[in-house]
Amino acid sequence: MATVALSNVKKSYGDVSIIQGVDLAIQDKEFVVFVGPSGCGKSTLLRMIAGLEDISAGELRIDGAVANDVPPDARGLAMVFQSYALYPHMTVENNMGFALKLAGIPKAERDAKVMGAAKILQLEKLLDRKPGQLSGGQRQRVAIGRAIVRQPKVFLFDEPLSNLDASLRVQMRIEIARLHTELATTMIYVTHDQIEAMTMADRIVVLRAGRIEQVGTPLELYHFPANVFVAGFIGSPKMNLTPVVMKSAGANGATVVAPGGGEIFIPVAPTAVATPGSAATLGLRPEHLTLSDDGPLSGTVAVVEQLGGETLVYVEIGDKILVTVKLAGSGSVHVGDRVKLAVITTEANLFGSDEMAMTPLRRAPVAGKGH
């Protein structure tokens, strides 16, 4: 059992407010990922949970008990740092056993625990080495091992994979996900890589400038972004965010005028700001656009990226407005072609002039990711 609850948690350095009131309830055994652009306060929030940073205002509860003033080591959490922060003069074994040694656990028991963690992470052969004699991936594993050995209630990760190369990152990603199932503990994971967030999280928390923009499962965020920021942040290639003008709005949906004059009817519940003539943003995932001779959008192909299994086509539909279209297979589109694009309107997102999403009316809700 390990839940973490934040209520109206704030952090400020002097009069600079970094975290501006965060409410969040993390369930037992949940894998929660904090994502957001650099400097949005992800690390700060994580460090406040860890106890490395004071909480300026608000309440942090771990397992229901207020933990604001509990020292870091007494919170029952373990953290994996971006720089690994291994003790350079200690062997791998001593690094992993350090916390147990400080806790006064007898040598035999300590060795057993370290060995257990080393087995899980395939570190048995490296126990006598110093961190300086390990590769980046191995160091990462030792850092995780050091956390595992303490059998914490909650694991905290601060961008643990950002120092690894791409292929190793994928491998470690899978390993951490496997670890989560194996250990069945709550994990909080910070990253600015939305792919890591999408692939690992039970729930994603999107942060911007010290505020939560949206909390939800990866697919909820993908299909039902609450605002333009989340829409642009989640998904790769990025969602096309095209400026449009509202033409009319009714109970069944809204009609917008796209760049180039094409009219598109989107089945969404219009919000109060969706008055005719007002500006809005049309959010279209690349895979929800198709080439079609009677589509409402038209433009010139600017770039074609062949990925083998699929093709990304960048079409310039207005002055400096590029939209990305994802086509299956290796399509026969060429740079300079005039193309028309059709929209799968039930999958289109419409954001009002306040940048907030209008609720889609005819889209299937995503299935929850259960445990």
Partner: protein
């Protein structure tokens, strides 16, 4: 791969690169500077060695000719040499211990953030800029003087008899002055080292349940091990030659209680005008310094390797 095998693999390649790029032997170009350094070092050394085997006393024109090892034998039989050696080691050892301990303490303290940190750092470094003679005079006359000194004033104000520093604790007094001058150096080096300590390591230790003392012992101290060896090495070289502080405060006395090797050489050569004996003392000092340096360098090298 060990560094030596690395060197073996890489060296020939480097060699080739160097040859092919220049096609000229560059060694003659450095000979002039090596020559100057050699002359600079060799001439005084040779003269010292030469004088040390002569009967050469400025007050006695009749004392001439080759003395063989006479000067050395005379010195080695003289109990003053043993005392001087002991004083040298006590002084060097004591000052090293004090400066490293205080330097570490200051480094850890001044690494914390507090109001006026910049000014405080400047003050702790300041003694380093005071000339040894001036420092010794200030300590002797303003602080440690049994009548007019600040310490005596404090002692009297709490009803104690003032300590007569340079009579009762001569070597300790000199040691205190020298330590005062060298603490800034140790602090400076160790403070820089503290600033290069990865903050996340400290935080990891906090998460691991290490309290302040345990963090110091298991994270900070190992990190400071190398800079401490550097401080010890550099200070030793300078502390073996302490002279001005002794001359200004005690003139080697009372008796020979504060006479170290350099001071003994000075007394022999310049107070007794015995150039031969003084040179022999100088040679002994060189031997001692080299023995010490040899062991120091070896320890440091081993420390840097691990």
């Amino acid at each position: 791969m060990t560094s030596s095998s690395l060197a073996r693999d890489v060296a020939p390649k480097l060699e080739k690169v160097r040859r092919s790029k220049r096609g000229v032997d560059t060694r003659p170009l450095v000979w002039p500077s090596i020559g100057v350094l050699l002359v600079w070092m060799i001439v005084p050394l040779a003269l010292t060695l030469w004088f040390s085997v002569l009967n050469y006393n400025l007050t006695d024109p009749t004392s001439t000719g080759f003395a063989g090892f006479g000067n050395y034998l005379y010195l080695l039989r003289d109990p003053a040499l043993a005392t001087a050696l002991l004083n040298t080691f006590l002084l060097v050892g004591g000052v090293l211990l004090t400066t490293v301990l205080l330097g570490t303490l200051f480094a850890v303290l001044f690494d914390q953030e507090f109001y006026g940190q910049g000014a405080a750092r400047l003050f702790v470094i300041a003694p380093f800029f005071v000339m040894p003679t001036v420092a010794a005079l200030v300590w002797k006359n303003l602080l440690m003087d049994p009548v007019n000194g600040l310490f005596a004033y404090f002692a009297r104000s709490i009803g104690l008899d003032p300590v007569v520093w340079f009579s009762d604790l001569p070597l300790t007094s000199v040691g205190i002055i020298v330590a005062w001058q060298w603490v800034p150096f140790a602090t400076l080096i160790l403070l820089t080292a503290m600033q290069s300590l990865d903050r996340e390591q400290i935080e990891a230790a906090r998460m691991d349940g290490a309290k302040a003392l345990a963090r110091f012992r298991h994270v900070v101290l190992p990190h400071l091990a190398r800079p401490v060896t550097i401080v010890v090495m550099i200070e030793t070289i300078f502390l073996l030659g302490i002279f001005a502080e002794i001359l200004v405060t005690t003139s080697g006395g009372p008796g020979d209680a504060t006479t170290n090797l350099p001071y003994l050489v000075y007394k022999t050569a310049l107070l007794q005008f015995d150039i031969g004996g003084g040179s022999a003392g100088g040679v002994i000092a060189i031997v001692v310094a080299n023995v010490v340096a040899f062991f120091l360098v070896r320890t440091v090298a081993r420390n840097l390797d691990s």
